[in-house]
């Protein structure tokens, strides 16, 4: 038997988190991410880790806050309505400059919505979500293999920049099964952080984890510092996949499961002789704005393919300063577009009919 295993996307996140050194999982079940919690419940006790099903999502995220303050790798996961509940805690974690991983396996909304896949939490994930000025690092896997890879990346980036990271998946990538090559186990030996709350043993000054600053100029300074860090992240950490873009005249932009559908549409359009390529954002924040800006010099238009009423399309328009038209191809509420629907959008952008 080789190195590959057959996993659900949700399980791949869980196993990759463990291999990235995460030994603390705190969550609350919700479809379609429950397999992640179930996997952790089985695995964590066997490896000396902590699995805890909290009494609510709000409790879970505040437990994450607590573990994160000690500098240990910690995560929680949920799906859209549960992620809304966590927003206060996420804002506190961001305001305290702590790393952690939050997984959102999105389902249709708003409200209780449905249980089928969606990407309609894009705004919530990339624009803050809770109160105050802050960002999360947001990664968007489009395969089970990427569920594993990006989990490790999200932990590393969160720790490097001392901020929460979110893995933004959808119900389809969470539920589908694909062969995966798992990352090697990381050395989980705990390295002391110079900010972590671990007990002074009367040998060092106190470390203080806090998001309350009643003196306004101090709070302003904190915000300025944080946004200076965000600026560096935007310059250096944006990731994307470029597909058949070399001679492309039309650029499809899609992430997650929508990108998989779009890839088939791009190939079908190529077969018709249309010069189409795709830019697939892998990080949604930082958004790969530079790549789109450069593409805008060469293509005649963009097609944004999303499982929402059109959220990422705003970031595309900002990235290209509205210099080129952007067509939206979208489904909502748990429905997924077919490659033909994307192809129709491509033809429309090409100036043809919409058949």
């Amino acid at each position: 038997m080789g190195n590959k295993v057959l996993m659900k996307g949700n399980e791949a996140i869980a196993e990759a988190a463990i291999r990235s050194g995460c030994r603390h999982y705190l969550g609350y079940p919700i479809t379609p991410q429950t397999e992640l919690a179930a996997y952790m419940a089985k695995r964590m006790p066997k490896i000396g880790g902590v699995f805890l099903q909290a009494e609510s999502e709000i409790a879970a995220i505040n437990m994450v806050y607590g573990v994160a303050a000690t500098g240990r790798r910690v995560m929680t996961s949920s799906s859209s309505p549960g992620i809304s509940l966590k927003q206060e805690g996420i804002s506190y974690i961001a305001g305290s400059d702590l790393p952690c991983l939050i997984v959102n396996v999105q389902r249709g909304g708003p409200g209780l919505g449905g249980i089928q896949p969606s990407q309609s939490d894009y705004f919530q994930a990339t624009k803050g979500g809770g109160h105050g000025d802050y960002h999360l690092i947001v990664v968007a896997p489009s395969s089970v293999q990427e569920m594993a890879q990006l989990t490790g990346l999200a932990f590393d980036l969160a720790e490097k920049y001392r901020m929460p990271a979110m893995l933004l998946a959808d119900g389809t990538v969470g539920q589908m099964m694909e062969p995966v090559e798992l990352p090697d186990e990381k050395d989980v030996e705990f390295t002391e952080k110079d900010w972590a709350v671990t007990g002074t043993k009367m040998q060092r000054p106190h470390h203080i984890v806090n998001s309350l600053y009643l003196v306004p100029d101090e709070l302003e300074r904190k915000n300025f510092e944080r946004f200076e860090r965000y600026r560096r992240i935007q310059e250096t950490e944006a990731r994307y996949e470029s597909f058949l873009m070399d001679d492309a005249e039309i650029c499809v932009v899609a992430f997650g499961i929508a990108a998989r559908v779009s890839k088939n549409a791009v190939l079908a359009a190529r077969a018709e002789g249309l010069k189409v390529g795709m830019i697939r954002p892998i990080t949604l924040w930082p958004f790969p704005s530079q790549a789109l800006k450069e593409a805008a010099d060469r293509v005649k238009g963009f097609v944004s393919v999303e499982l929402s009423m059109g959220q990422m399309i705003e970031d595309i328009k900002l990235a290209i300063s509205c210099r080129k038209p952007v067509e939206l191809v979208n489904r909502a509420g748990g429905m997924i577009m077919s490659p033909d629907e994307v192809l129709a959008g491509i033809r429309k952008m090409n100036g043809g009919d919409n058949q």
Partner: protein
């Protein structure tokens, strides 16, 4: 061939797919057959997704009354009682994954035991990380038996890597399947493989016509 065949196993091990193919096999042998989707755990992939193909082949399908509707109620249809009590046709039960899924079986077990013409087939894919070796697979089997209140009677090796499976990948798991059979004292009933592949060199090869996936 027993009158009632139950497929149990770790979730994602291929129970629904096997149940569908097994029911079709019963029909091709000329037996009256019905398939009951008892998976109250997973709302995404289920044997009832193949309802049309099954009904076209003459398999009666008993689906969850509220599956894929707005009612989020994991209720089992009363028709399953008819299936286990009436004894008029061959019954294939697609049970939900793990011990949680098997719990739903409990209320039907007294009827199944009383008739005593059943097989409980434990489906295992050794490429699934939580059943990657014989000991782990046995642990999951015991959890399911405890929850369901019925013992497994045979093992089905459904080891695969999805679309990337080669016949040699299946052949490589035969020693693990034999080890599980020895540990549990149960027979290895058959080894499943995708019908589009060349037939692997395995005990009791059983070709599967795969279900269509929603995406």
């Amino acid at each position: 061939m027993k009158r009632v065949t139950l497929f149990v196993g770790h979730y994602g091990s291929g129970k629904s797919n096997l149940a569908v193919n097994y029911a079709l096999m019963l029909r091709s042998c000329g037996k009256p057959a019905a398939l009951a989707d008892m998976d109250i755990v997973n709302p995404y992939f289920r044997s009832a997704d193949s309802a049309r193909e099954l009904e076209d082949a003459g398999v009666r399908v008993i689906a969850l009354p509220f599956a894929n509707t707005n009612v989020d109620l994991p209720a089992l249809p009363s028709a399953i009682y008819g299936l286990v009590e009436s004894r008029s046709e061959y019954a294939v039960l697609d049970v939900g994954g793990d011990d949680r899924g098997a719990l739903a079986l409990g209320r039907f077990v007294p009827y199944i035991l009383e008739e005593n013409d059943y097989e409980v087939l434990y489906v295992v894919n050794f490429y699934r990380p939580l059943t990657g070796n014989a000991n782990d697979a046995l642990e999951v089997m015991r959890e399911i038996e405890t929850a369901a209140g019925i013992r497994c009677t045979g093992i089905v090796n459904d080891s695969n890597l999805g679309g990337e499976t080669a016949p040699s990948d299946i052949e490589a798991t035969v020693p693990l399947a034999r080890e599980l059979a020895a540990l549990s004292g149960l027979p290895l009933v058959f080894t499943a493989y995708d019908a589009r592949l060349p037939r692997p060199d395995v005990p009791g090869p059983f070709p599967l016509t795969l279900q269509r996936r929603p995406v």
